[in-house]
Amino acid sequence: VKAGPAFVLAAVAALPAGARAALGPLYGGEATVTVPSLPSALAPAAPADATERLVLGLVHETLVRWDPEAGTQPGLAREWTEAADGREQTLVLAGDLVLHDGRPLAAGDAARSVRRFLRGGTPAARRLAATLEGGEAYAAGHTDDLPGVKAVSDLHLSLRLRARTAHPLAPLASPAAAVTGPQGAGAGPFVPAGPASGSLRLTAFSGHVRGRPLLDTLRLVAVADAGTRDGWLRAGRAHLVPGRPGPESLCATLVLAVDPAQAPFDRAAARAALSAALPRAELVAHFVPGGQPARGLLPPALLDPVAGPPPAPGPVPRTAVALTVAADVPARLSQRVVAYLDAMGLRPAVRVREPREARRAGGLRLLLLAPEVAEGELALRAALDLAPTAAAADTLRAAAAQPDDAERRRLLRQAEAQIEAGHALLPLAWVPVGYRGDGRLRDARVDAGGRLVLEQAWLRP
């Protein structure tokens, strides 16, 4: 170099062209994801399975998001402040927000959506209702007054709480709490096109709070058979299908729910014997790739597991039982559990039902539980719905009021142990929720709640 400051020149031999490097992320293109089925409605709800979680996360956006490591994160609300010793929370919406239908999104939409959420009755909604001024009476439909929720300007939503509460905004990260417009329009990263048989086409939403997604369009195609879905991937017709290896998160728990009101498992000893007889390690080793034998109701990402005393072995009643299997439990997994029960002499009569219906069924139920919000207390509240325990409910109330994180975690572990002690909800395996791709779609990820996140995903040319 003749001019300018000198620096050392070192000769190097020419190298073959095509060194690895940096092209991307890139805007544009259409990606296809096959899923077992598509939800019949796109309105905000607590997702019943991984596909609902995916679709609702594409179409809708919440005021805040929850990260198990970092806690409450901005969503449509860019920040929040607290006053009155934590009893008043004011969320500040990001500026210039719009809904899919082009209307401006204001705090009034957020307030109306919180009201809808509270009446939905999900575990997260009930937690919020219990903490808001007037929340429980409103949620129960006793009144339309809700003094705890108020849009104080277009950008400010005020929440007034009955008492200081740990992580008071976490319930608002539920997909059921997503903000919609008066006509139901969402504000998620993708805009759904009209309904089409067996597939859902979504286009990038330029007004999304974190910016337009990188993909132009996204196509979700319902393909019921897993082998056929794999065929789509092999043929290059799909970029992602449920499976592994690929982006995944160990976030679901396979549980056997036992109705303690029904014989022969109305005796705690019988339930404990059933729990003790289930070969969790063998089940996982052969039928849950990427999974772990469950050492608690919640996967480790939500709550550090602490091994409790093993259930007492004993004779399992030899009788006919009804077993309801949720449709999102992989078939070979449910078949193996049925084989185990059969080998114990239980003679299960199996019926497969949609996940929501399966949870409401009586008798034995084989369910795949993923959290409404990936937060320990809220996830345990969902478990408590399946196995109500007064002691655990009291402990969860104490955890909700506990400001110290370490003590709160101790209480959550105690509540988990109290639920498990009743042997009405038997955790069998921690199961990954994952998606397999062919390498063309980059930067897809699965969050701690089991949601496939595609807003950052892009197609490699």
């Binding site: 170099v1 020419a14 073959p16 092209l23 991307g24 890139l26 805007y27 544009g28 210039d96 337009r212």
Partner: protein, 253 residues
Amino acid sequence: VAAAALLCALAAPGPRTAPLPERALAVAWLKPAHFAVLFARWVGLYRWSGEAPALLSRADLPCHGRAVRWPGGLLAAHAAESSLWAMTSLSTHAVLLAADGDRLAVREQAAAVPWPGSRSGLRLRPDTSLLEGDLEGVGAGPFLAVAGGDAAVGADGRLLRAGAAQEAPRVGSALARAWPGWLLASSPAPPGEPDGITLLPADGPAVSAVILPGSVGALAARVDGDHVVTVLAVTEGETGPRLWLAALERPRP
């Protein structure tokens, strides 16, 4: 010219900055010892005096309030006038900035960045990092990057050159002109791996000149005889990008 017979020279390791606070969208030489760095909301004027480049001044761009997930930008430097046009995905206008001594001052605004070979200039497609605008002999875009009036990187990562006869090679999204007929480009693999700078003659095969420990997000080159002096925005791992200075010697048969 056979690739295997080419030699080039690299300044290694050249001066480099500490990690920058955010991603650099573009870089451009303004004077022999001054260059500009474009960020999403501002332009920085840097001086290189043998040590690590130092930030002299900054000029904020007029920005809208919408979020852009992966912003892009364009710098068009006019070294003879010590001025440059700047535009990003977040800016509302293209802005003409002049380097007055060590300071950057806003001189003018326009709807698009005036660009050689483009009648209406270039601009950012709304809410994306893609460049739009007719580029004579090259096409209408969208482009990932442009270099002069006759070369660009298409949205599919292929190098587009006016009058090119051979199949368009894949390159990365950083592109700059070197000696007449020669281009410099980052290489086309996705982020997360070591990057490289490839020399692309008008005819003949490309030559990989430099392997770098991170991804090249932006690239500028200034010809100085048989050398080009480059500024590279290189991102290693999770830290912000560093500005690297490196000189390449013209390949010899």
